[in-house]
Symmetry: C2
Subunit: 501 residues, 2 copies
């Protein structure tokens, strides 16, 4: 194929997959948010069919021929196409031994497991979910065994899916550094004399008021609601159906209004990233080329580095009082700031404070590594889960709902994803320091100029995300090799001040 | 092909189309209800692609061969498959000269026109919509000219799409009877001395209270919300994505709470029909084989014959007072009943009272007949529209929003559909009389036993709808030939009593 032919094929397939995956993603979003409960089986069947039909296209001679030709000629193209051709070739290599039948089985298993996860969580009973999880783990291991490219361990193969360039060796060290940095700090905090007021954290805020705050945050953070949607699910998520359609969900608890606030800030961060990629990435079809860790960098940046910053919280404090009337009138801003940043070892990852969060990830990392490498059985998983919570956080779930069943990831076939959250925290601290060279971060937040922050991220972070593997990316942004050092410093400085230690 | 081969193909294609049209229908519903405004172009593009890909399957040799073989062997199958094979052969015949290119052009034109209709309505400006409508009319006329089967007029060809067996000759007579029945009655009402209280019809009811009433009505009418969804759009509609997923939308106006009530009753009627078809219809793939008039029979039955019945309204009156507290405390039940049934010539079809409703349809019938037969130009349509409202109803729209732009049908490519609404009213009155032979209608409503009514409809009306053309259907249900007589009698008896004339 010559350059022109390759370009034609690239455009054809890009538009083709874009349209179908758009429809499929919206259908899936609908299923999570509004579809009636009795439609689950037929919805899963329909999604599996369409996914499988798309998979068959990926397996067609025409497509494979294009992928190989494009890869071989990639040097003739500009940088975006080069990356696109590189990534799609990696995907092709990875899945070339996966048959449509195995793909169909996987996608049907996943959709059934996701539904069962929901039911099991409602019933607080892991045993309802366990057989489905077992099946997913088996299929994942089968999938890995079919790959040409061999890694030191099966789990490494999945890590490569999400964060190319990382592996167990690197991550074992990373989590070791995290543990060594956080655990002593946590101990000092727990032993400190500082009393942080927390009664108001459970003040009642009716859902319709919380909805107002959700919209306010999205607008304040410069998310474009004309190109986005916010809806409700038990477990919040973000999806990116198309260039002008980026969606987040949140959840509402009347007696924990901050849960919604930080869910919206987090998912809104993903969504702002999605809305502010270069247009060229969409025309080339590489709009989803950034890794999960890159994405979590931004979502955690908006949730914590911005969202729990003192100057940012001043705006939230004022808005909360405006929306909630007298509800929080006995709470001073200092109390509000400290309460939002209180450190309390807890059971639910998504509700965890900024400091202990990575310990939740550590637990998942150890468990999924064992599952995929075959050293842990799904049968014992809830017991093991609870044991590790006891060990690392000093607390234990009362039931599976607050333990093993809290996250939807594994039921959705996502193994190797969790480390991305922790990596994202560490990347975020490095990006913050780099950003501070160009703009006065605290002052910008004080002014409420979130647009300036978004623009900086757009021009320095979003613009090159899809073009690089994660460790290259962070080096290009900051000029430094990746390490946990700046993250631990960031945490220490912040919490030493709050807890006066 | 032998019987077994035909059956295999039938099942394959049934499941195939079921899955894809499910996904497509949900996507379209999402687009009407929650999708962000800026996604319109890309959503239209994606929908057009998928529709067009499905159209190509309908055009494939394999599918066409199956359709012809199935039709030729239909006598070997049971009655559901016979009907299915008959109907799909009719469809094939009708579209066999339509190229995928023309189909794509039509579907893209329609989705663009639907979006422009929305914008034009917002801006109250028909001229924004007119060029798109013009294009649709041209494409429709082109489509008709390509059909093998010839009718007396182009419009007859479209009437046959919706209500096979009907044509201009029959409908001209039908509307003549309607006019002759309703206009003198309306005159007597307008001249009567009866004063009906109407101030409370515009009492303010906050939307969250109206939402409660929406859910109450759906439950009370025995709609299954575990297999259905209610959402909000400006122009209410019903759709049937899958066997256990039937969806309606409604709209809320704070100062016209009955508008929502009767929208929900109407769309809920469609939805109850959809939820209570025989399961076999779904397995055979003939779940959407009933005609529009059959559908409107049921939706108008729930909206008017049930929904505006004195005994039914007693329940609504009580529930309204329960939900709204003191709002309606100065309104007696007699005043409520009469107010709900007040006759007032008005501009908006969907808000029209039961008596004048068919005059709105008459206007649309005359206009679309002219458009499709080439005797009326889209350029003059808003002027003509207003003229006819003046002539038949004695009132005139102030702007296009309340006139020509109120209905989404034409922008969605639906011509020949409107008469179905009027036919449905007349069918409904005949069904009511037949039902009364088996159960005490008024007493059943008094007891609030809507389940009994639904069951009767299920066993006598829904069960044979898809199997028959409309006039056969009504004859099988009632044992009588279709006429407007019972409908005019029903209206006369009801309104003579209310207006004491």
């Amino acid at each position: 194929m010559n350059k022109k032919e390759i370009l034609e094929k690239a455009n054809y397939y890009n538009e083709y997959f874009k349209d179908y995956s758009y429809i499929l993603e919206v259908f899936s979003f609908d299923h999570e948010t509004v579809a009636p409960i009795n439609s689950t089986n037929e919805a899963n069947k329909a999604m599996s069919r369409v996914s499988n039909d798309l998979f068959k296209v990926l397996k067609s001679d025409d497509y494979i021929n294009y992928v190989i030709e494009a890869y071989n000629h990639k040097d003739e193209f500009d940088i975006e196409y080069q990356r696109k051709f590189e990534l799609q070739y990696r995907e092709y290599e990875k899945s070339k031994n996966i048959t449509p039948e195995l793909d169909y089985e996987m996608s049907l298993t996943i959709s059934t497991a996701s539904s069962m996860w929901k039911k099991a969580k409602e019933k607080n009973d892991y045993s309802l979910f366990e057989p489905h999880l077992k099946k997913i783990v088996e299929l994942k291991r089968k999938e890995i065994s079919l790959r040409d490219k061999k890694f030191d361990t099966p789990y490494d193969s999945l890590l490569d899916d999400y964060e190319s360039g990382n592996n167990e060796r690197i991550l074992d060290k990373f989590f070791e550094d995290i543990k060594n940095g956080i655990v002593p700090l946590l101990k000092r905090i727990v032993n400190s004399k500082k009393k942080i007021r927390e009664d108001f954290l459970t003040y009642n805020v009716p859902i319709w008021k919380q909805e107002k705050l959700s919209n306010w945050i999205l607008n304040f953070n410069d998310f474009d609601l004309n190109s986005g949607v916010i809806s409700t699910t038990e477990h919040p998520f973000t999806c990116f159906p198309s260039e002008h359609d980026t969606r987040i969900t949140t959840h509402y608890h009347e007696n924990d209004y901050l849960s919604n606030i930080f869910s919206v800030a987090h998912e809104g961060g993903h969504a702002i990233f999605g809305q502010n990629e270069p247009h060229k990435f969409f025309t080339v079809g590489m709009e989803e080329s950034m890794t999960s860790a890159m994405h979590e960098t931004i979502s955690r940046f908006y949730e914590n580095i911005i969202g729990r910053n003192r100057n940012y919280l001043l705006h939230l404090y004022n808005k909360t009082n405006e929306v909630c009337g007298d509800t929080f009138k006995d709470v001073s801003f200092d109390e509000f700031y400290e309460g939002v940043n209180i450190v309390r070892p807890s059971l639910i990852r998504t509700e965890a404070d900024e400091l202990t969060y990575c310990l939740h990830i550590l637990i998942r990392y150890e468990l999924e590594k064992g599952l995929i490498n075959g050293t842990i059985d799904t049968k014992d998983l809830n017991v093991l889960w609870n044991k590790k919570y006891k060990e690392y956080l000093g607390i234990e779930p009362k039931g599976d709902k607050d333990g093993i069943l809290q996250d939807m990831h594994w039921g959705g076939g996502l193994f190797g994803y969790f480390p991305s959250y922790a990596l994202g925290n560490a990347y975020g601290a490095m990006i913050l320091n780099r950003m501070k060279k160009d703009l006065d971060f605290d002052e910008t937040l004080k002014e409420g100029n979130l647009k300036a922050i978004k623009e900086w991220l757009k021009n320095n972070v979003f613009n090159i995300a899809g073009l690089n593997d994660p460790n290259e990316w962070i080096k290009k942004i900051t000029g430094k090799e990746f390490s946990t050092k700046e993250y631990i410093e960031y945490l220490s400085q912040k919490y030493e001040k709050i807890y006066q230690i």
